[in-house]
């Protein structure tokens, strides 16, 4: 039989705790093969950012290796991966092989310096290998979310910055200037914190049906807001995996969820409408 046409482009990858990614491709006829990383542009926009890595024969089985070092940090976004057989040749998009991401599983346990840079190899919806990258001056990693009948409570830990006396959690109503500031409980180490939001914080005159609050923490009274999300493990697409119940009160239903970028948001909908987490 004929094999999948793309079989020879199945690429194994493994990541180490520092974020170094090693790619392994089956050997091919190319003389000077390179691995091309392309930051996926917005629809209709030209591509602007490319990285090239040399593919070199490794020790075992003549496979080609390329190493993406932790530095420089990649720009935040989705990076598509291609094989470039020759400098002028047509590039071929890579299919995923095994992705050994085991060291990422407990990545939230290590405190990160600023800037917080994260990469997670993943498989795109149409079945190609890609790399999800985040790069943030600071980042607040959610650890647990508790939802009761009265309130929702988020436990998180700040990376790349320290919490001070006047720290606040800020909920910003998407597409508007409306904000709600909440007082967090701060752990002694100035990193861990938690906050509780009740129905009164999430609904009210300004928040109509179908509104979304994005969640930030301001480490000090005058500090720029830091996004709260969940980036420090092996899950690149969390939205439909980490699913939370809704807090229902006063005719509204408030459900915490992760956006397609793994940032924390809270969606407020009228309680009588059927809730669909998708």
């Amino acid at each position: 039989m004929t094999m999948h046409r793309d079989t020879h482009l199945r690429t194994h990858c493994a990541i180490d705790p520092d974020g170094r990614v090693t790619f392994r491709l089956p050997p091919g006829p190319a003389l000077r093969p390179q691995l091309l990383l392309r930051l996926r542009p917005q629809k209709g926009r030209p591509e602007t950012t490319l990285h090239l890595l040399d593919l070199e024969p490794g020790r075992a089985g003549g496979q080609l290796h390329a190493v993406l070092e932790p530095h420089p940090a990649l720009d935040e976004g989705r990076w598509d991966l291609y094989l470039l057989p020759e400098p002028e040749a047509e590039r071929q998009r890579l299919r995923p092989g095994l992705r050994d991401l085991r060291v990422l599983v407990d990545g939230h346990l290590r405190d990160r310096p600023s800037p917080v840079a994260v990469r997670v190899p993943y498989v795109t919806k149409d079945g190609f290998l890609a790399l999800r990258a985040w790069r943030r001056t600071a980042h607040a990693e959610v650890r647990a979310i508790d939802v009761t009948e009265q309130a929702l409570t988020v436990e998180a830990r700040l990376h790349g910055a320290e919490l001070h006396e006047g720290a606040t959690v800020r909920l910003r109503l998407r597409g508007s200037d409306t904000v709600r500031d909440l007082r967090p409980r701060i752990d002694d180490d100035g990193r861990g914190f938690s906050f509780t939001a009740g129905p009164e914080d999430l609904t009210g005159s300004t928040a109509g049906p179908g509104r979304i609050w994005d969640a930030f923490v301001r480490p000090a009274a005058d500090a720029p807001p830091v996004r709260i999300g969940r980036l420090l493990d092996d899950v690149a697409d969390r939205k439909h995996v980490f699913v939370y119940p809704a807090l229902t009160a006063g005719g509204s239903s408030s459900r915490p969820y992760y956006t397609v970028d793994n940032d924390l948001a809270i969606e407020v909908t009228p309680a009588e409408s059927p809730i669909c987490p998708k």
Partner: protein, 429 residues
């Protein structure tokens, strides 16, 4: 016979649809690929609905299809119900007079030493339509006891005309021997194989329990989630990850919510291959009420995970050695499942030791040993049959019930004397 250099055999597998996804396809591709090391192997797919198979097949194995649904779905014969493929078979609706005809023609003209069917309806085709010169093998990937009575009746009649039946467990092989009158048919358990993992095994440090399979009621993920509530209460930093898709998803989601486990239990969606996911875990889990084999248990063990499973019929008890490389607990018992999980979650040293044992013990399911057994089995059956024909005057010993016992004895005696005769005879063909 161990260590013997086997003669090359021509082997044909007959499969429902090699272009889909599923346990039978995986295990058939694995076995065919491994046999292709020394033999001439083809897979014939009764149906085809896409250009390339989902799963990667060894390039030495030829693949073709008998009915291409992309072009022939509207064929007039395909609108009429199948007559050879038994009506009581689960997939009868997908078969037709067209498949009857194509499979029949293909079998009649078959030029191989061995033909292997991979599901009951196709085994019936082989029993009824394959020529006697070919060794006729029927594989049972499910279990006899779980087939509906109508199907069992159809199989009882047809399977007497097979040479070999393989089951995936000893327990099912015993059921065939006990419950079917199959004079002269060799019944043997041949487990599914799992390829050697490409990644290094899990080291037992991750605080993750992993389960994988279709989200269907028989897998009892509800029971597993219920049991995991006790684990999460005692060890809040442990996760349960369930991989797979299926009809139970909304109900499981509800249960996770009701038990307030959304920070600990995750429905991960489907992952293929699972290997890199197993490597992230420290314990495998299975809670099924019924499991013909238990492929995911073997997969997890081959990645170095001890597995906690219900001791359901039939597979888990033949894979897991309770207390050594995993735990077996009574079916439908959430508390027992929880205690077994807690034993391993709470004892790092024991968990790691059992993981290493699982890795060693699961090597018997590597393609090497399983394929060696398959080769021995086929060679022996071919030899027995050839010598049987030479030493008996019976026109067809398979249909001669009264002489069954004598047939077994004669075959066994002949086999001892005839090892090696096969090669000479088949060379002369």
């Amino acid at each position: 016979m161990v260590g013997a250099v086997y003669a090359t055999m021509k082997i044909s597998f007959l499969i429902h649809n090699a272009y889909g996804i599923g346990g039978t396809i995986t295990t058939t591709f694995n076995l065919a690929g491994a046999l292709a090391e020394r033999h001439d192997v083809e897979i014939v797919s009764a149906l085809r609905h896409r250009e390339h198979p989902h799963l990667v097949l060894d390039p030495r194995v030829r693949l073709r299809a008998l009915v291409d649904l992309r072009k022939e779905a509207d064929h007039p014969l395909h609108q009429r119900p199948a007559k050879v493929f038994p009506a009581a078979e689960y997939r009868h609706r997908q078969y037709s007079e067209l498949t009857d005809q194509r499979i029949g023609e293909w079998l009649e003209a078959l030029d191989t030493d061995v033909v292997i069917g991979t599901r009951p309806g196709l085994n019936v085709h082989i029993a009824r339509q394959a020529p006697q010169r070919v060794l006729r093998v029927g594989q049972e990937h499910l279990t006899l006891d779980n087939h509906p009575p109508g199907l069992r009746t159809a199989l009882r009649r047809a399977y007497r005309r097979l040479d070999v039946i393989t089951t995936v467990t000893e327990a099912d092989a015993a059921a065939y021997r006990r419950k079917m009158w199959l004079p002269g048919v060799h019944v043997e358990a041949l487990p599914n194989s799992v390829p050697d993992p490409a990644l290094s095994p899990a080291d037992g440090t991750a605080k993750i329990v992993i389960a994988a399979g279709r989200l269907v009621p028989v897998k009892r993920y509800d029971l597993l989630i219920e049991a995991f509530a006790q684990v999460a209460a005692a060890f809040p930093d442990w996760q349960l990850r369930i991989y797979g898709k299926g009809e139970e998803e909304p109900r499981l989601r509800e249960l996770i919510e009701r038990l307030r486990l959304w920070n600990n239990v995750f429905l991960m969606g489907a992952a293929t291959p699972m290997e890199a996911e197993w490597a992230k875990g420290s314990i495998g889990a299975a809670a099924s009420d019924f499991e013909p084999f238990g492929m995911t248990i073997v997969e997890a063990m081959r990645c170095g995970l001890p597995v906690v499973s219900t001791d359901c019929p039939y597979g888990p008890g033949e894979i897991i050695q309770d207390g050594a490389d995993g735990r077996l607990v009574p079916v439908k018992d959430a508390d027992a499942l929880a205690s077994a999980l807690l034993e391993l979650v709470g004892d790092d040293e024991r968990r790691r030791r059992m993981g290493r044992t699982a890795l060693d013990n699961a090597r018997r399911f590597a393609p090497g040993p399983v394929v060696a057994q398959a080769e021995r089995l086929l060679e022996k059956a071919l030899t027995t049959r050839t010598t049987g024909r030479r030493t008996t005057t019976l026109p067809d010993h398979r249909t001669s019930g009264a002489l069954t016992g004598r047939g077994h004895a004669a075959r066994d005696a002949a086999h001892a004397a005839a090892v090696g005769a096969l090669r000479a005879i088949r060379k002369g063909r």
